[in-house]
């Protein structure tokens, strides 16, 4: 049930050869690994998945499963199963016969196929639902059955095309827990398409970030957040802090001051934009000194926006040139920090923002 999957310079052109839907995408997925293909609408992520499944024929490039090129193999011969955004349960079959479908069409006797399907229904916590018609299920249950049906086919690679995006947040959370349990038990190789960064972070070991058909970065979730390869990646991952400047002698210098590279890392000399996640910034009392590994910047709260349990603070950096200025007359160097909503920081308050060096990275501008 766990095969390795490799994409080698995959290209898919639909109408306009100048704008391929997928443009030279390459990545490898290890057996048992879960890869999330993340990207905004129209980034080509679903086309990549459909090409892997054999539903779309690539214009160029290779798809290797366990090292073997699957070009020319019909979808039914690739050993993949897919769960779509819509559950697409066969409406003329019962829940159990839906899950037993792969075994039935493989020629297994009905009794055996159904016994096997029962186990997979138990796996998705729907034991006892087998005899129901599929119309008697809720949205979450339908998607569980779709997952059980796909797993019962014992796919070499399990493909998930935004399978939980139509569910409400509570159900989506439950499905993430279920997927984790399935991975722990069966260790299938999973490729999941999603436009939800949080979902990718929760479910996947690694993420392939796509935009306009190009692969921007293929990395672990953590590195995608903290070590983006480019400004584009940082922005797509929701990064809000960008400080243009220059790296001189391993220290990034910008209007906000100097930030040395983290221990054991080197930044390319020359101009570059320092990016740091808003969640990584700590806001301390005015005048607080920087602990080891942090850079302290004096700031004034320029704006405060409620974000449910969190608050988003826009902080104007007080530069050496204007130490006593009010927020509205300060320069354009702003940082964004997220703090718990209970922090009583109001617009105009002075504070110190502590920037952890380990959370900083410099990318080309």
């Amino acid at each position: 049930m766990s095969a390795s999957l490799t994409l080698d310079s995959l290209v898919k052109v639909f109408d306009d050869p100048a704008r391929p839907a997928v443009d030279g995408v390459s990545f490898a997925v290890a057996p048992g690994e879960c890869l999330a293909i993340l990207g905004p609408s129209g980034s080509g992520k679903s086309t990549v998945l459909r090409s892997i499944a054999g539903l779309d024929v690539p214009s160029a490039g290779r798809i290797l499963v366990d090292g073997t090129d699957v070009a020319g193999l019909a979808p039914e011969r690739r050993g993949m199963a897919m769960v779509f955004q819509r559950p697409l349960l066969f409406p003329h079959l019962s829940v159990l016969d839906n899950v037993a479908f792969a075994a039935t069409v493989a020629g297994q006797p009905k009794r055996e196929a159904r016994a096997d399907a029962t186990q997979f229904l138990e796996l998705v916590q729907l034991a006892g639902f087998g005899s129901r018609p599929v119309t008697a299920l809720s949205g979450g249950q339908e998607q569980r059955v779709a997952l059980a049906r796909a797993l019962a086919a014992r796919p070499r690679v399990l493909l998930l095309d935004e399978p939980f995006s139509a569910l409400d947040p509570q159900l989506r959370g439950d499905m993430h827990v279920l997927l984790a349990a399935i991975r722990a038990q069966l260790a299938p190789t999973v490729v999941m398409v999603t436009h939800d960064r949080d979902e990718a972070a929760v479910v996947a070991d690694r993420v392939a970030l796509l935009q306009r058909g190009r692969l921007l970065q293929h990395d672990t979730v953590e590195r995608l957040y903290t070590r983006p390869d480019s400004l584009e990646v940082s922005r797509l991952m929701g990064g809000r802090n960008e400080l243009p400047g220059t790296v001189i002698g391993g220290v990034h210098r910008s209007a906000a001051g100097g930030v040395p590279a983290p221990e054991g890392e080197t930044w390319a000399e020359g101009s570059g934009v320092l990016v740091v996640r808003q969640e990584a910034l700590q806001v301390a009392a005015a005048g607080a000194s920087a602990p080891e590994g942090f850079v302290a910047l004096a700031v004034v709260v320029a704006d405060r926006r409620a974000r449910g349990p969190r608050a988003e603070l826009e902080l104007a950096v007080i530069t050496d040139d204007a130490p006593d200025a009010r927020p509205d007359s300060l320069g354009s160097t702003r940082l964004l920090a997220e703090v718990p909503a209970s922090r009583p920081l109001a617009v105009g308050d002075r504070a110190t923002v502590l920037v952890p060096r380990s959370a900083c990275t410099v990318v080309a501008g």
Partner: protein, 296 residues
């Protein structure tokens, strides 16, 4: 803040809804009246005439004579009409479903079949019947093409098996079923077909386990239409069939045009029987439809 509806607001809403209902009814009334007069009036007149309550001459008197006057012809005609309609419907359904599957494959053959089906639909049955006659009669195009002597060519037109009639119906109606079912396959079945393929089902398995079961309701509905049409249609059987025995619509038409004035109630009796059988066929078809899992 909770808002309390003003007293009377409820009554006003009810009044408005009632008014809208009446306006809606008034707008469909003309169409409803025309359809009602034609269907209820037509059938009613036939029933009244068939039981002797509307004679052309003489006194009106309730009698079932018209139903027994041509007893043998009526039974033979009924069996013949049922045979022609059943054969045409079965063949059209099988060929139409196959054509629909080919159309939705989306290749050049599919587009060709879709084009042929679309071209077939507007051709009137009378023209189709004439064309089939010219093609398959013993002096027609096909025997000449194959160099078969007229005597050696089977009696397709006017023969004992009504082959040319069934052929014409099948040609026209399979195109109709193909387009109706192709529409359903393309819009409702395509994604299920993909899903089944990804679960390892071969093309043949998908056809058996997914495509045919999901297309069944559309096939049943269009088959009901085809059955009722071929059962009650007159001109094709009249042109391509033999003079005797006559299918029910041909019998009804002959009796209606007969110079014997007493034949009118007999023609009406044949028409009433044709209508009753058609309604029964619709009822059986709907019962079959309700048994399909998709309908439930």
């Amino acid at each position: 803040m909770l808002t309390t509806p003003l007293p009377g607001a409820d009554a006003r809403a009810r009044q408005r809804a009632s008014r809208e209902r009446w306006v809606g009814l008034a707008m469909v009334a003309p169409a409803l009246a025309v359809a009602g007069v034609v269907v209820v009036g037509g059938i009613g007149m036939s029933v009244v005439q068939s039981v002797g309550l509307l004679p052309l001459v003489g006194e009106a008197r309730f009698t079932l004579d018209a139903y027994v006057a041509n007893g043998d012809e009526l039974l033979t005609g009924l069996a013949l009409s049922l045979g022609i309609a059943t054969a045409s419907t079965l063949l059209s359904s099988v060929i139409g479903l196959a054509a629909a599957v080919i159309i939705t494959q989306g290749r050049i053959t599919g587009r060709l079949v879709a084009g042929l089906s679309a071209v077939t639909i507007p051709v009137p049955h009378l023209v189709g019947a004439a064309a089939v006659g010219l093609l398959v009669a013993d002096s027609g195009l096909l025997p000449r093409w194959f160099g078969v002597e007229p005597g050696a060519w089977p009696d397709l037109v006017g023969g004992p098996w009504w082959v040319a009639v069934v052929l014409e119906y099948t040609w026209k109606e399979s195109a109709f079923i193909a387009l109706v079912v192709a529409g359903v396959l393309a819009t409702r079945v395509a994604r299920y077909d993909e899903t089944a393929a990804l679960l390892g089902a071969s093309r043949a398995r998908r056809l058996r386990h997914i495509v045919i079961p999901l297309a069944t309701p559309a096939v049943i509905v269009s088959a009901i239409i085809v059955f009722v049409y071929t059962f009650g249609s007159y001109e094709v059987a009249w042109l391509l069939g033999r003079p005797y025995p006559e299918p029910l619509p041909v019998l009804a038409f002959r009796l209606f045009n007969s110079i014997t004035l007493t034949s009118r109630p007999e023609a009406a009796a044949v028409a009433v029987i044709t209508t009753v059988v058609s309604l029964l066929a619709v009822a059986v078809g709907m019962a079959l439809l309700r048994r399909t899992p998709l309908w439930r």
